[in-house]
Protein backbone atom coordinates (compact mmCIF):
# COMPACT_ATOMS: atom_id res chain seq x y z
CA UNK A 1 0.00 0.00 0.00
CA UNK A 2 2.84 2.36 0.77
CA UNK A 3 6.26 2.74 -0.76
CA UNK A 4 7.65 4.93 2.01
CA UNK A 5 10.45 3.16 3.85
CA UNK A 6 11.40 4.41 7.32
CA UNK A 7 14.97 4.97 6.14
CA UNK A 8 16.94 8.10 5.42
CA UNK A 9 19.91 8.83 3.24
CA UNK A 10 22.62 10.20 5.59
CA UNK A 11 22.79 13.97 5.34
CA UNK A 12 20.05 14.17 2.74
CA UNK A 13 16.38 14.96 2.46
CA UNK A 14 14.26 12.28 0.79
CA UNK A 15 10.88 13.30 -0.60
CA UNK A 16 7.83 11.08 -0.99
CA UNK A 17 4.40 11.79 -2.41
CA UNK A 18 1.70 10.17 -0.32
CA UNK A 19 -1.91 10.13 -1.45
CA UNK A 20 -4.36 11.33 1.16
CA UNK A 21 -6.04 7.92 1.70
CA UNK A 22 -2.63 6.37 2.45
CA UNK A 23 -1.41 9.01 4.88
CA UNK A 24 -2.53 7.21 8.02
CA UNK A 25 -0.77 3.98 7.02
CA UNK A 26 2.42 5.85 6.16
CA UNK A 27 2.43 7.63 9.50
CA UNK A 28 1.95 4.28 11.25
CA UNK A 29 4.95 2.89 9.34
CA UNK A 30 7.24 5.84 9.97
CA UNK A 31 6.37 6.85 13.53
CA UNK A 32 8.08 3.94 15.34
CA UNK A 33 11.38 4.41 13.49
CA UNK A 34 11.64 8.15 12.86
CA UNK A 35 10.96 11.32 14.84
CA UNK A 36 8.15 13.52 13.54
CA UNK A 37 10.06 16.79 13.49
CA UNK A 38 7.48 19.09 11.94
CA UNK A 39 4.19 19.23 10.11
CA UNK A 40 2.85 22.14 8.08
CA UNK A 41 0.58 22.97 5.18
CA UNK A 42 0.86 25.23 2.18
CA UNK A 43 -1.68 26.55 -0.27
CA UNK A 44 -1.32 26.26 -4.02
CA UNK A 45 -3.51 24.61 -6.61
CA UNK A 46 -4.38 22.27 -3.76
CA UNK A 47 -3.60 22.49 -0.08
CA UNK A 48 -0.59 20.30 0.59
CA UNK A 49 0.25 18.74 3.94
CA UNK A 50 3.94 18.10 4.59
CA UNK A 51 5.37 15.94 7.36
CA UNK A 52 9.06 16.21 8.17
CA UNK A 53 10.59 13.09 9.70
CA UNK A 54 14.06 12.95 11.21
CA UNK A 55 16.39 10.02 11.69
CA UNK A 56 18.55 10.68 14.76
CA UNK A 57 20.75 7.59 14.47
CA UNK A 58 24.44 8.46 14.40
CA UNK A 59 25.90 7.95 10.93
CA UNK A 60 22.47 7.67 9.32
CA UNK A 61 21.01 11.03 10.32
CA UNK A 62 18.86 12.62 7.63
CA UNK A 63 15.32 13.67 6.87
CA UNK A 64 12.26 12.36 5.06
CA UNK A 65 9.47 14.66 3.87
CA UNK A 66 6.10 13.30 2.86
CA UNK A 67 3.84 15.47 0.71
CA UNK A 68 0.12 14.88 0.68
CA UNK A 69 -2.23 16.94 -1.49
CA UNK A 70 -5.56 17.29 0.29
CA UNK A 71 -8.82 17.30 -1.57
CA UNK A 72 -11.57 18.00 0.88
CA UNK A 73 -9.98 19.95 3.71
CA UNK A 74 -9.49 17.00 6.03
CA UNK A 75 -6.67 14.55 6.68
CA UNK A 76 -6.01 11.52 8.85
CA UNK A 77 -5.46 12.45 12.46
CA UNK A 78 -1.67 12.30 12.70
CA UNK A 79 -1.60 13.10 16.41
CA UNK A 80 -3.56 9.96 17.24
CA UNK A 81 -0.51 8.02 16.05
CA UNK A 82 2.28 10.52 16.71
CA UNK A 83 1.14 12.72 19.63
CA UNK A 84 3.84 15.28 18.80
CA UNK A 85 1.68 16.51 15.93
CA UNK A 86 -1.20 17.91 17.97
CA UNK A 87 0.20 21.44 18.22
CA UNK A 88 0.75 21.54 14.45
CA UNK A 89 -2.77 20.24 13.83
CA UNK A 90 -4.03 23.20 15.82
CA UNK A 91 -1.75 25.64 13.95
CA UNK A 92 -2.80 24.27 10.56
CA UNK A 93 -6.46 24.60 11.47
CA UNK A 94 -6.01 28.25 12.44
CA UNK A 95 -3.91 29.06 9.38
CA UNK A 96 -5.61 27.01 6.65
CA UNK A 97 -9.00 25.97 8.03
CA UNK A 98 -8.30 22.26 7.47
CA UNK A 99 -8.48 19.66 10.19
CA UNK A 100 -8.07 16.00 11.12
CA UNK A 101 -10.94 13.86 9.89
CA UNK A 102 -11.79 12.69 13.41
CA UNK A 103 -13.28 16.12 14.14
CA UNK A 104 -11.30 16.29 17.37
CA UNK A 105 -11.27 19.49 19.37
CA UNK A 106 -8.44 21.83 18.35
CA UNK A 107 -7.06 24.56 20.59
CA UNK A 108 -6.11 28.13 19.87
CA UNK A 109 -2.30 28.21 19.75
CA UNK A 110 -1.36 30.90 17.25
CA UNK A 111 -3.82 33.66 16.40
CA UNK A 112 -5.04 36.03 19.13
CA UNK A 113 -8.84 36.00 19.42
CA UNK A 114 -9.12 39.79 19.57
CA UNK A 115 -7.37 40.62 16.27
CA UNK A 116 -8.19 39.87 12.67
CA UNK A 117 -4.73 38.89 11.50
CA UNK A 118 -3.99 37.49 8.04
CA UNK A 119 -3.74 33.73 7.66
CA UNK A 120 -1.73 31.66 5.21
CA UNK A 121 -4.80 29.96 3.77
CA UNK A 122 -8.52 29.97 4.46
CA UNK A 123 -9.82 31.01 7.82
CA UNK A 124 -11.41 28.13 9.76
CA UNK A 125 -15.17 27.84 9.62
CA UNK A 126 -15.41 27.73 13.40
CA UNK A 127 -13.20 29.38 15.98
CA UNK A 128 -10.65 27.11 17.68
CA UNK A 129 -11.35 25.96 21.22
CA UNK A 130 -10.15 28.06 24.12
CA UNK A 131 -8.22 25.71 26.35
CA UNK A 132 -9.45 27.06 29.68
CA UNK A 133 -9.88 24.46 32.35
CA UNK A 134 -13.05 24.54 34.35
CA UNK A 135 -12.72 26.91 37.23
CA UNK A 136 -13.07 24.05 39.67
CA UNK A 137 -12.03 20.55 38.76
CA UNK A 138 -13.89 17.83 40.62
CA UNK A 139 -14.35 20.17 43.55
CA UNK A 140 -10.69 19.68 44.46
CA UNK A 141 -8.66 21.87 42.13
CA UNK A 142 -9.10 25.29 40.56
CA UNK A 143 -7.49 27.27 37.78
CA UNK A 144 -5.02 29.87 38.90
CA UNK A 145 -4.45 32.32 36.02
CA UNK A 146 -0.93 33.72 35.76
CA UNK A 147 0.23 36.10 33.04
CA UNK A 148 0.47 37.02 30.24
CA UNK A 149 2.28 39.98 31.81
CA UNK A 150 4.83 38.52 34.16
CA UNK A 151 7.72 39.80 36.22
CA UNK A 152 10.54 42.02 34.99
CA UNK A 153 11.35 41.62 31.31
CA UNK A 154 10.07 38.10 30.83
CA UNK A 155 8.13 37.47 27.63
CA UNK A 156 4.35 37.52 27.56
CA UNK A 157 2.99 34.09 28.35
CA UNK A 158 -0.21 33.02 30.00
CA UNK A 159 -0.12 30.07 32.36
CA UNK A 160 -3.34 28.33 33.23
CA UNK A 161 -2.27 26.64 36.44
CA UNK A 162 -4.65 24.05 37.74
CA UNK A 163 -3.88 23.46 41.37
CA UNK A 164 -5.31 22.10 44.56
CA UNK A 165 -3.39 24.75 46.48
CA UNK A 166 0.30 24.08 46.04
CA UNK A 167 0.83 21.11 43.76
CA UNK A 168 0.56 21.60 40.00
CA UNK A 169 -2.27 19.31 38.93
CA UNK A 170 -2.31 20.58 35.38
CA UNK A 171 -0.87 23.41 33.35
CA UNK A 172 -1.58 24.82 29.93
CA UNK A 173 -0.15 27.79 28.10
CA UNK A 174 -1.51 30.54 25.89
CA UNK A 175 1.35 31.43 23.59
CA UNK A 176 -0.42 33.64 21.06
CA UNK A 177 -0.12 37.04 22.72
CA UNK A 178 2.84 38.13 20.63
CA UNK A 179 2.01 36.43 17.34
CA UNK A 180 3.63 38.41 14.51
CA UNK A 181 2.59 36.46 11.42
CA UNK A 182 6.20 35.91 10.40
CA UNK A 183 5.55 33.04 8.00
CA UNK A 184 2.92 35.18 6.32
CA UNK A 185 5.37 38.11 6.13
CA UNK A 186 8.02 35.94 4.49
CA UNK A 187 5.86 35.37 1.43
CA UNK A 188 7.04 37.36 -1.57
CA UNK A 189 10.45 38.07 -0.08
CA UNK A 190 13.78 37.01 -1.52
CA UNK A 191 15.83 34.65 0.68
CA UNK A 192 18.16 37.56 1.44
CA UNK A 193 15.26 39.68 2.69
CA UNK A 194 13.74 36.75 4.55
CA UNK A 195 16.91 36.18 6.55
CA UNK A 196 16.41 39.53 8.23
CA UNK A 197 13.11 38.33 9.70
CA UNK A 198 14.30 34.79 10.40
CA UNK A 199 17.11 36.12 12.59
CA UNK A 200 14.59 38.15 14.53
CA UNK A 201 12.08 35.33 15.01
CA UNK A 202 13.50 34.50 18.42
CA UNK A 203 16.45 36.86 18.61
CA UNK A 204 18.33 34.42 20.80
CA UNK A 205 18.65 31.92 17.92
CA UNK A 206 19.65 34.37 15.20
CA UNK A 207 22.45 32.20 13.86
CA UNK A 208 20.56 28.91 14.06
CA UNK A 209 17.38 30.13 12.42
CA UNK A 210 19.31 32.21 9.91
CA UNK A 211 21.42 29.17 9.04
CA UNK A 212 18.36 26.93 8.74
CA UNK A 213 16.58 29.36 6.42
CA UNK A 214 19.70 30.06 4.36
CA UNK A 215 20.34 26.32 4.04
CA UNK A 216 16.74 25.76 2.94
CA UNK A 217 17.11 28.41 0.22
CA UNK A 218 20.49 26.98 -0.80
CA UNK A 219 18.95 23.48 -1.07
CA UNK A 220 16.05 24.87 -3.09
CA UNK A 221 18.40 26.51 -5.59
CA UNK A 222 21.14 23.86 -5.58
CA UNK A 223 23.72 26.30 -4.22
CA UNK A 224 26.93 25.03 -2.62
CA UNK A 225 28.27 27.12 0.24
CA UNK A 226 32.08 27.55 0.51
CA UNK A 227 33.50 25.29 3.24
CA UNK A 228 35.21 28.15 5.04
CA UNK A 229 31.86 29.95 5.23
CA UNK A 230 30.23 26.81 6.66
CA UNK A 231 32.88 26.77 9.39
CA UNK A 232 32.24 30.47 10.09
CA UNK A 233 28.55 29.66 10.53
CA UNK A 234 29.53 26.90 12.95
CA UNK A 235 31.77 29.25 14.96
CA UNK A 236 28.89 31.72 15.26
CA UNK A 237 26.47 28.92 16.17
CA UNK A 238 28.72 27.67 18.98
CA UNK A 239 29.16 31.24 20.28
CA UNK A 240 25.37 31.48 20.26
CA UNK A 241 25.15 28.25 22.28
CA UNK A 242 27.70 29.51 24.80
CA UNK A 243 25.94 32.77 25.59
CA UNK A 244 22.53 31.11 25.71
CA UNK A 245 23.73 28.48 28.16
CA UNK A 246 25.29 31.22 30.31
CA UNK A 247 21.95 33.05 30.24
CA UNK A 248 20.13 29.82 31.16
CA UNK A 249 22.50 29.35 34.10
CA UNK A 250 21.77 32.91 35.27
CA UNK A 251 18.03 32.26 34.94
CA UNK A 252 18.35 29.06 36.96
CA UNK A 253 20.10 31.02 39.73
CA UNK A 254 17.46 33.74 39.59
CA UNK A 255 14.65 31.19 39.83
CA UNK A 256 16.28 29.53 42.84
CA UNK A 257 16.90 32.87 44.57
CA UNK A 258 20.67 32.59 44.31
CA UNK A 259 21.60 36.19 43.56
CA UNK A 260 25.35 35.78 43.93
CA UNK A 261 25.32 32.87 41.48
CA UNK A 262 23.10 34.87 39.16
CA UNK A 263 25.56 37.78 39.17
CA UNK A 264 28.48 35.42 38.51
CA UNK A 265 26.62 33.82 35.57
CA UNK A 266 25.63 37.22 34.21
CA UNK A 267 29.25 38.39 34.30
CA UNK A 268 30.11 35.35 32.16
CA UNK A 269 27.13 36.15 29.91
CA UNK A 270 28.22 39.76 29.43
CA UNK A 271 31.76 38.71 28.61
CA UNK A 272 30.46 36.24 26.05
CA UNK A 273 28.22 38.90 24.47
CA UNK A 274 31.20 41.25 24.21
CA UNK A 275 33.14 38.41 22.63
CA UNK A 276 30.34 38.11 20.04
CA UNK A 277 30.63 41.84 19.32
CA UNK A 278 34.37 41.51 18.86
CA UNK A 279 34.15 38.35 16.77
CA UNK A 280 31.29 39.29 14.47
CA UNK A 281 30.34 42.93 15.19
CA UNK A 282 27.03 42.11 16.89
CA UNK A 283 26.34 41.06 20.46
CA UNK A 284 23.55 38.71 19.36
CA UNK A 285 25.28 37.67 16.15
CA UNK A 286 22.74 39.19 13.77
CA UNK A 287 23.85 39.60 10.19
CA UNK A 288 26.52 36.88 10.22
CA UNK A 289 24.68 34.31 8.12
CA UNK A 290 23.93 35.36 4.55
CA UNK A 291 22.04 33.49 1.83
CA UNK A 292 24.77 31.45 0.14
CA UNK A 293 27.40 31.90 2.84
CA UNK A 294 28.36 34.42 5.50
CA UNK A 295 28.70 38.18 5.42
CA UNK A 296 32.04 38.30 7.19
CA UNK A 297 34.86 36.22 8.59
CA UNK A 298 35.24 35.98 12.35
CA UNK A 299 37.90 37.97 14.16
CA UNK A 300 39.85 34.80 14.89
CA UNK A 301 42.55 36.55 16.93
CA UNK A 302 39.90 38.28 19.02
CA UNK A 303 38.16 34.98 19.72
CA UNK A 304 41.41 33.24 20.66
CA UNK A 305 42.28 36.09 22.99
CA UNK A 306 38.92 36.62 24.71
CA UNK A 307 37.21 33.20 24.70
CA UNK A 308 39.43 31.49 27.33
CA UNK A 309 38.74 34.25 29.86
CA UNK A 310 35.02 34.45 29.14
CA UNK A 311 34.61 30.68 29.31
CA UNK A 312 36.79 30.64 32.46
CA UNK A 313 34.21 32.95 34.04
CA UNK A 314 31.43 30.58 32.92
CA UNK A 315 33.28 27.59 34.35
CA UNK A 316 34.00 29.28 37.69
CA UNK A 317 30.32 30.11 38.09
CA UNK A 318 29.14 26.62 37.11
CA UNK A 319 31.66 24.85 39.35
CA UNK A 320 30.61 27.01 42.29
CA UNK A 321 26.99 26.13 41.59
CA UNK A 322 27.73 22.41 41.33
CA UNK A 323 29.25 22.66 44.83
CA UNK A 324 26.20 24.44 46.30
CA UNK A 325 23.82 21.94 47.83
CA UNK A 326 20.99 24.42 48.34
CA UNK A 327 21.06 25.01 44.57
CA UNK A 328 21.33 21.39 43.54
CA UNK A 329 18.53 20.34 45.90
CA UNK A 330 16.14 22.59 43.99
CA UNK A 331 17.19 21.08 40.65
CA UNK A 332 17.25 17.41 41.48
CA UNK A 333 14.04 15.49 40.74
CA UNK A 334 12.35 18.72 39.61
CA UNK A 335 10.51 18.90 36.30
CA UNK A 336 11.15 15.30 35.34
CA UNK A 337 10.51 14.24 31.75
CA UNK A 338 10.86 10.55 31.01
CA UNK A 339 12.46 9.24 27.82
CA UNK A 340 9.04 8.05 26.71
CA UNK A 341 7.46 11.47 27.17
CA UNK A 342 10.30 13.22 25.34
CA UNK A 343 10.06 10.72 22.48
CA UNK A 344 6.27 10.87 22.16
CA UNK A 345 6.34 14.66 22.06
CA UNK A 346 9.25 14.79 19.61
CA UNK A 347 11.31 17.05 21.89
CA UNK A 348 14.73 18.28 20.83
CA UNK A 349 17.88 19.88 22.18
CA UNK A 350 19.18 19.76 25.76
CA UNK A 351 15.68 18.93 27.03
CA UNK A 352 15.56 15.75 24.93
CA UNK A 353 19.21 14.86 25.52
CA UNK A 354 18.76 15.18 29.30
CA UNK A 355 15.93 12.66 28.99
CA UNK A 356 18.09 10.11 27.20
CA UNK A 357 17.34 10.95 23.57
CA UNK A 358 20.48 11.50 21.48
CA UNK A 359 18.98 13.92 19.00
CA UNK A 360 21.25 16.64 17.62
CA UNK A 361 21.12 18.24 14.18
CA UNK A 362 24.91 18.57 14.26
CA UNK A 363 25.02 14.82 13.72
CA UNK A 364 23.55 15.09 10.24
CA UNK A 365 26.46 14.39 7.87
CA UNK A 366 27.45 16.91 5.26
CA UNK A 367 27.95 19.97 7.43
CA UNK A 368 31.11 21.27 9.08
CA UNK A 369 30.69 19.09 12.18
CA UNK A 370 32.68 15.87 12.18
CA UNK A 371 31.83 12.50 13.70
CA UNK A 372 33.91 13.32 16.75
CA UNK A 373 31.51 16.06 17.91
CA UNK A 374 30.53 14.97 21.43
CA UNK A 375 26.80 14.91 22.10
CA UNK A 376 26.17 15.45 25.80
CA UNK A 377 23.45 13.28 27.28
CA UNK A 378 21.87 12.28 30.57
CA UNK A 379 19.00 10.05 31.54
CA UNK A 380 17.47 11.51 34.72
CA UNK A 381 15.31 13.96 32.74
CA UNK A 382 15.17 16.49 35.60
CA UNK A 383 16.34 20.09 35.79
CA UNK A 384 19.75 19.01 37.09
CA UNK A 385 20.21 16.73 34.09
CA UNK A 386 19.35 19.57 31.72
CA UNK A 387 21.79 21.86 33.53
CA UNK A 388 24.65 19.34 33.36
CA UNK A 389 23.93 18.70 29.67
CA UNK A 390 24.20 22.45 29.02
CA UNK A 391 27.51 22.63 30.90
CA UNK A 392 28.96 19.74 28.90
CA UNK A 393 27.75 21.34 25.68
CA UNK A 394 29.41 24.64 26.56
CA UNK A 395 32.75 22.86 27.04
CA UNK A 396 32.32 21.10 23.71
CA UNK A 397 31.44 24.41 22.02
CA UNK A 398 34.73 25.92 23.16
CA UNK A 399 36.61 22.93 21.74
CA UNK A 400 34.69 23.09 18.48
CA UNK A 401 35.33 26.81 18.02
CA UNK A 402 39.07 26.18 18.39
CA UNK A 403 38.84 23.36 15.85
CA UNK A 404 36.92 25.42 13.31
CA UNK A 405 39.29 28.36 13.56
CA UNK A 406 42.30 26.08 13.05
CA UNK A 407 40.74 23.64 10.62
CA UNK A 408 43.37 21.59 8.82
CA UNK A 409 41.05 20.90 5.92
CA UNK A 410 41.10 24.44 4.60
CA UNK A 411 41.77 27.95 5.66
CA UNK A 412 39.86 27.86 8.95
CA UNK A 413 36.73 29.91 9.20
CA UNK A 414 36.50 32.61 6.55
CA UNK A 415 34.13 34.79 4.64
CA UNK A 416 32.54 33.57 1.44
CA UNK A 417 29.27 33.79 -0.33
CA UNK A 418 27.80 32.02 -3.33
CA UNK A 419 25.15 33.86 -5.28
CA UNK A 420 21.75 32.19 -5.22
CA UNK A 421 20.30 31.74 -8.70
CA UNK A 422 16.79 33.12 -9.14
CA UNK A 423 15.02 29.86 -9.68
CA UNK A 424 12.12 27.88 -8.30
CA UNK A 425 12.46 24.95 -5.95
CA UNK A 426 11.85 23.67 -2.45
CA UNK A 427 14.36 22.96 0.27
CA UNK A 428 14.72 22.02 3.92
CA UNK A 429 17.40 23.50 6.17
CA UNK A 430 18.41 22.73 9.74
CA UNK A 431 20.80 23.83 12.48
CA UNK A 432 21.20 22.84 16.12
CA UNK A 433 20.27 25.95 18.07
CA UNK A 434 21.04 26.25 21.80
CA UNK A 435 17.46 25.08 22.38
CA UNK A 436 17.64 22.23 19.88
CA UNK A 437 17.02 21.47 16.24
CA UNK A 438 15.80 24.51 14.27
CA UNK A 439 14.14 23.75 10.93
CA UNK A 440 13.20 25.90 7.98
CA UNK A 441 11.52 24.94 4.74
CA UNK A 442 11.05 27.20 1.74
CA UNK A 443 9.26 27.04 -1.56
CA UNK A 444 10.61 29.50 -4.14
CA UNK A 445 8.73 30.75 -7.16
CA UNK A 446 10.27 31.19 -10.61
CA UNK A 447 11.43 34.69 -9.70
CA UNK A 448 13.33 33.24 -6.72
CA UNK A 449 10.93 34.78 -4.23
CA UNK A 450 9.38 32.84 -1.39
CA UNK A 451 5.90 31.52 -2.00
CA UNK A 452 5.77 29.63 1.32
CA UNK A 453 8.27 29.51 4.16
CA UNK A 454 8.01 27.45 7.29
CA UNK A 455 10.06 28.32 10.36
CA UNK A 456 10.20 25.74 13.14
CA UNK A 457 12.43 26.99 15.97
CA UNK A 458 13.21 24.51 18.75
CA UNK A 459 11.00 26.55 21.09
CA UNK A 460 7.99 25.77 18.90
CA UNK A 461 8.61 22.10 19.61
CA UNK A 462 9.74 22.05 23.23
CA UNK A 463 6.99 24.09 24.85
CA UNK A 464 4.77 21.04 24.38
CA UNK A 465 6.94 19.18 26.89
CA UNK A 466 6.78 21.96 29.46
CA UNK A 467 3.37 21.13 30.89
CA UNK A 468 4.30 17.45 31.29
CA UNK A 469 7.48 18.49 33.13
CA UNK A 470 5.52 20.83 35.40
CA UNK A 471 2.93 18.19 36.26
CA UNK A 472 5.47 15.68 37.54
CA UNK A 473 4.91 16.12 41.27
CA UNK A 474 5.97 19.75 41.30
CA UNK A 475 4.79 22.76 43.25
CA UNK A 476 4.30 26.38 42.15
CA UNK A 477 7.80 27.55 43.00
CA UNK A 478 9.31 24.82 40.81
CA UNK A 479 7.78 26.26 37.64
CA UNK A 480 10.26 29.14 37.15
CA UNK A 481 13.10 26.66 37.69
CA UNK A 482 11.70 24.29 35.08
CA UNK A 483 11.13 27.18 32.68
CA UNK A 484 14.75 28.33 33.10
CA UNK A 485 16.02 24.81 32.46
CA UNK A 486 14.01 24.59 29.21
CA UNK A 487 15.39 28.03 28.21
CA UNK A 488 12.82 28.54 25.47
CA UNK A 489 11.45 31.71 23.93
CA UNK A 490 7.78 32.54 23.65
CA UNK A 491 8.61 34.44 20.47
CA UNK A 492 9.70 31.19 18.82
CA UNK A 493 6.27 29.71 19.48
CA UNK A 494 4.34 32.91 18.76
CA UNK A 495 6.09 33.57 15.48
Amino acid sequence: MTAVEPKTVPGEVTMFQVASPHLEAVVRDLAPALRLADMFASDGDATTLRLVWANDTAGQAGYVITETPLENGVYASVSDIAPAAFVEECEIYEQFGIRPATGKSLNRVMLPPHADLPTLGHKPQAEPEEAHAQHTVGGQAFEFPFGPVRQVGVESLYYGLVTSGEEVVDLYLFTWHKHRGLEWRLQGKTPEQALFLAERTEGLSAVALGWALAAAAEAATGTWVPEAAERTRAVALELERLYNHAAAMAALCQSTGLTVGQSAAEIALERLLRLNARAFGHRYLFGVVAAGGVSRAPDADGIRKILPGAYGEFKRASEALLGTNSFLDRLEATGVLTTGQAKDLGLVGPVARASGLATDARRVPGGPYGDETAIAAATAGDVLARFTVMLAEAAESVRLIGDFLDSETGSGAGAGIAELPRTSGTGLGWAESPRGEALAWVELGRDGRITRARLRPASARNWRGFDDACRSQNVFTDIPIIEASFWLTVAGMAR
Binding site: G281, R283, F286, G287
Partner: protein, 112 residues
Protein backbone atom coordinates in the same frame (compact mmCIF):
# COMPACT_ATOMS: atom_id res chain seq x y z
CA UNK B 1 36.59 48.93 47.97
CA UNK B 2 36.68 50.50 51.45
CA UNK B 3 37.76 53.83 49.96
CA UNK B 4 34.95 53.68 47.46
CA UNK B 5 32.48 52.98 50.25
CA UNK B 6 33.73 55.88 52.44
CA UNK B 7 33.83 58.27 49.49
CA UNK B 8 30.25 57.31 48.62
CA UNK B 9 29.08 57.98 52.17
CA UNK B 10 30.88 61.33 52.32
CA UNK B 11 29.59 62.54 48.94
CA UNK B 12 26.18 60.97 49.23
CA UNK B 13 26.71 59.42 45.81
CA UNK B 14 26.89 55.67 45.67
CA UNK B 15 26.78 55.07 41.96
CA UNK B 16 29.62 55.35 39.47
CA UNK B 17 29.83 57.87 36.67
CA UNK B 18 28.22 56.76 33.44
CA UNK B 19 29.97 55.46 31.58
CA UNK B 20 32.68 54.84 34.10
CA UNK B 21 34.98 54.34 31.13
CA UNK B 22 34.43 53.80 27.42
CA UNK B 23 33.53 50.19 26.70
CA UNK B 24 36.13 48.63 24.43
CA UNK B 25 33.52 46.47 22.70
CA UNK B 26 31.39 49.51 21.79
CA UNK B 27 33.63 50.31 18.85
CA UNK B 28 32.68 47.08 17.11
CA UNK B 29 28.92 47.38 17.60
CA UNK B 30 26.58 48.28 14.76
CA UNK B 31 25.08 51.75 15.08
CA UNK B 32 22.41 53.64 13.14
CA UNK B 33 23.58 55.36 9.97
CA UNK B 34 24.72 58.91 9.42
CA UNK B 35 24.06 60.37 5.96
CA UNK B 36 26.27 62.67 3.88
CA UNK B 37 23.83 65.04 2.18
CA UNK B 38 26.39 66.13 -0.40
CA UNK B 39 26.65 62.53 -1.66
CA UNK B 40 22.97 61.67 -1.31
CA UNK B 41 21.40 61.87 -4.75
CA UNK B 42 17.81 61.02 -5.53
CA UNK B 43 18.60 57.61 -7.12
CA UNK B 44 20.82 56.75 -4.16
CA UNK B 45 18.10 57.78 -1.72
CA UNK B 46 15.56 55.63 -3.57
CA UNK B 47 17.91 52.68 -3.54
CA UNK B 48 18.34 53.05 0.21
CA UNK B 49 14.58 53.28 0.75
CA UNK B 50 14.20 50.08 -1.28
CA UNK B 51 16.64 48.01 0.74
CA UNK B 52 15.81 49.20 4.25
CA UNK B 53 14.23 46.06 5.78
CA UNK B 54 12.49 47.83 8.65
CA UNK B 55 10.93 50.73 6.75
CA UNK B 56 13.00 53.36 8.56
CA UNK B 57 13.60 55.33 5.36
CA UNK B 58 11.23 57.06 2.96
CA UNK B 59 11.71 59.86 0.47
CA UNK B 60 9.45 62.85 0.59
CA UNK B 61 10.22 65.02 -2.44
CA UNK B 62 13.74 66.28 -2.03
CA UNK B 63 14.05 65.08 1.54
CA UNK B 64 15.05 61.65 2.85
CA UNK B 65 13.03 61.03 6.00
CA UNK B 66 14.89 58.78 8.41
CA UNK B 67 13.09 57.35 11.45
CA UNK B 68 15.79 56.37 13.93
CA UNK B 69 13.13 54.69 16.05
CA UNK B 70 12.48 52.11 13.32
CA UNK B 71 16.14 51.57 12.43
CA UNK B 72 17.68 48.28 13.58
CA UNK B 73 21.23 49.30 12.65
CA UNK B 74 21.46 46.36 10.26
CA UNK B 75 24.04 48.18 8.13
CA UNK B 76 22.46 47.41 4.76
CA UNK B 77 22.32 51.09 3.76
CA UNK B 78 25.99 51.69 4.60
CA UNK B 79 26.95 48.59 2.62
CA UNK B 80 24.81 49.69 -0.33
CA UNK B 81 26.14 53.25 -0.57
CA UNK B 82 29.31 53.64 1.51
CA UNK B 83 30.02 56.98 -0.13
CA UNK B 84 26.76 58.43 1.21
CA UNK B 85 26.20 56.50 4.45
CA UNK B 86 28.46 55.70 7.39
CA UNK B 87 27.91 54.36 10.90
CA UNK B 88 27.02 57.18 13.28
CA UNK B 89 28.78 55.60 16.26
CA UNK B 90 25.76 56.69 18.28
CA UNK B 91 23.70 54.10 20.13
CA UNK B 92 22.37 55.97 23.12
CA UNK B 93 19.14 57.10 21.54
CA UNK B 94 16.75 57.43 24.47
CA UNK B 95 14.46 60.43 24.28
CA UNK B 96 11.25 61.61 25.87
CA UNK B 97 10.00 63.00 22.56
CA UNK B 98 9.40 60.52 19.74
CA UNK B 99 9.50 63.24 17.09
CA UNK B 100 13.17 63.96 17.81
CA UNK B 101 13.94 60.54 16.33
CA UNK B 102 12.68 61.58 12.90
CA UNK B 103 15.48 63.14 10.86
CA UNK B 104 15.16 64.90 7.53
CA UNK B 105 18.16 64.76 5.23
CA UNK B 106 18.17 66.95 2.11
CA UNK B 107 18.59 64.99 -1.11
CA UNK B 108 20.88 66.52 -3.72
CA UNK B 109 19.26 67.07 -7.09
CA UNK B 110 21.21 65.60 -9.99
CA UNK B 111 22.81 68.17 -12.32
CA UNK B 112 20.65 68.42 -15.41
Amino acid sequence: MTLWFIRGLLRGVVTTRYPVRPDASAASLPTPPAFRPQALTRPTADRLVGICPSGALRRDGSVLVYDVGRCTACGRCAAEAPHAVTGSGEFELATTDRSTLIKEIPVREEAR
